[in-house]
Symmetry: C2
């Protein structure tokens, strides 16, 4: 039976990424050596790093004046690297859930943090609107996609101050107007690569403005100056990322990804709304994530939750359990999840409905 | 023709590590999913992380009261994490080369740094001796193996103060008396795994003594509390590390590794001393690294350097070029480099000598 990988992350990657990375682990670029065993200074690996950076620029249409970095650690590491690099006195954060809270916590070590708005009152099941961003902050931070609660900010807005976005879980799922941001970052393990590499897209002009001394590895300028090769980069995740980027390009780019993602999400949200057993956790359509589709049993069918989970698991659905803070189910529909998997889940929901 | 991988790092790994990791990238632990695609919270991956930690404890005979961590980033990241966690006012460093210098530079952001001794006067071609470590420092830092210059501290000594060691390039090459250290760390990409994971062995009592506030990801206690799973760990390098640890155990453990490494090093150093064309860069035998064997042409044969490099390359020797600051040649003889490769290099040196 086919496994449908709905894991929230680490999560499904394109088959090309999986196969090509496994092959490179045996023989990388015809060197006769494993990708794990070659020097990162070899011309073959330097070519991988350069191409990965170029592909970012091409696929996201990144304007001049921005740099793309591939760093070790995860997005959690960037939670403190960002204020270290960008925050002199004050920053603003939009509180859309657990990840935003973790980011805010680290920023507080470096100065004053303003929470401009929060959706905590309703277990983060919406995106706050009509908030004011103080215009004297060093930056305003948003988390574009909230994996746990299934909400997503799908527009690139101007807030009048430098904008920083954690796009860990929706990067490359849609076109992004990078010019609206001073910095975009994210862990790779959703739409890009295995865990272990973090991308940072940063406007060069945004750097060098804080008065504190930065540890060498924290300072983005260190990595810009050395093309992400100041220290040994995580070679396997970087290679896998390149494979995914090539797959996105072959699929038609991020515009095409967005179309497919919207189509997949529509199929699933429509079924959740139609099916008498289920309802979505996020009410407002515009706030619903295209990447993490969260749904729960309708009140009158609450006792069927475990049954449906077992039924879906029997039908090959893997990783469908909702986060413990939300409950129910979470279908993560990242770029690499095929439409066929969504249809299989919908069939499963219909079949289960017919039985009750 | 067989390639003999003498790369200084990333470097040769056991064939078992390469093959098993490549296989897990296709189907991990019979999940039908790639190691890159499964949740790090899955029971299968949690088992990998736990076993890797246990294998560290078993192979290095780590006493109670120590914790083993697998973190993202590289040893360069630890250069600032260590003073952040351990240095209240003052630390001491032994300057044995480029890596020690980089470590010292970061510590200076956190307080006073005493360089207790340096071998810079002779391009770091020896290990300083008879130095005094100030007894009022928070810790004394050493780099046990110096990849660029081919020197190594092969004994675990007591300096009267907490001892911290960067063992990036000689971990698991010999038994270590862990009880002599408060903290041992290193990047994985020499004797353990592909780049992208850093190990930290830390005495729990050494932590929580500094008065500054630590970013969450910097604080070792964060990672101890979550068994290295506070954030998504670099799953592929951790898995590869476990494969290498199992290989070391199957080979007979670190005592056996030391015997083999001493044998390999003896074969090569003996030839370097015997061969009229070459000489070692490190004079004192006790200071010579068993991991990175550096040698240059004797003065009267200086002009043959490029010829020998080309000759060796033709004979399958890969990554033999010495670091630019030392010149000549560097044969990295990590655990996974087979004795047959050392013999092939020695044969190559003899053949080249016979021609001149």
């Amino acid at each position: 039976m086919k496994t449908h990988n709905y894991s929230a992350g680490p999560s499904i990657l394109p088959q090309d990424t999986v196969k090509n990375t496994a092959a490179a682990l045996i023989n990388f670029a015809d060197t006769g050596l494993s990708l794990m065993e070659v020097s990162h200074r070899s011309k073959e690996f330097v070519a991988v790093m350069n191409e990965a950076r170029e592909m970012f620029k091409i696929l996201l249409d990144i304007p001049d004046g921005y740099q793309v970095l591939f760093l070790g650690g995860g997005a959690s590491t960037q939670f403190f690297h960002i204020p270290y690099n960008l925050m002199e006195k004050k920053s603003a954060y939009l509180n859309t859930g657990a990840w935003a809270n973790k980011a805010m916590k680290e920023a507080k070590l470096f100065g004053e943090v303003v929470e401009v708005a929060s959706s905590k009152d309703k277990m983060y099941n919406y995106i706050p609107k009509n908030f004011e961003v103080p215009q004297d902050v060093d930056y305003f931070h948003i988390t574009t996609n909230n994996t746990i609660y299934g909400t997503e900010i799908k527009e690139d807005k101007d807030y009048g101050v430098p904008l920083v976005a954690d796009m860990s879980s929706d990067i490359f799922s849609r076109p992004v107007d990078v010019s609206k941001y001073d910095l975009i970052y994210g862990g790779a393990q959703k739409n890009l690569a295995p865990a272990g590499v973090t991308f940072v897209i940063v406007k060069e002009d945004a750097l060098g403005k804080v008065s504190r001394e930065l540890p060498t590895m924290v300072d983005y300028r260190t990595h810009i100056a050395k093309d992400s090769m100041f220290n040994t980069p995580p070679v396997v995740p970087v290679y896998a990322a390149l494979m995914t980027l090539k797959w996105i390009k072959a699929m038609g780019g991020v515009g095409e990804m967005q179309k497919i993602n919207e189509e997949k999400a529509a199929i699933l949200y429509d079924e959740i709304e139609r099916n008498k057993l289920f309802r979505p956790t996020v009410e407002l359509k515009e706030d619903r994530s295209l990447m993490n589709i969260c749904f729960i049993m309708n009140d009158e069918y609450k006792e069927l939750e475990k049954d449906f989970f077992d039924f879906a698991t029997l039908h090959g659905m893997s990783g469908l359990k909702g986060h413990r803070s939300v409950g129910g189910f979470r279908a993560s529909t990242y770029n690499a999840l095929p439409k066929a998997s969504v249809i299989a889940l919908v069939d499963c929901m219909k079949e289960f409905e017919a039985k009750h």
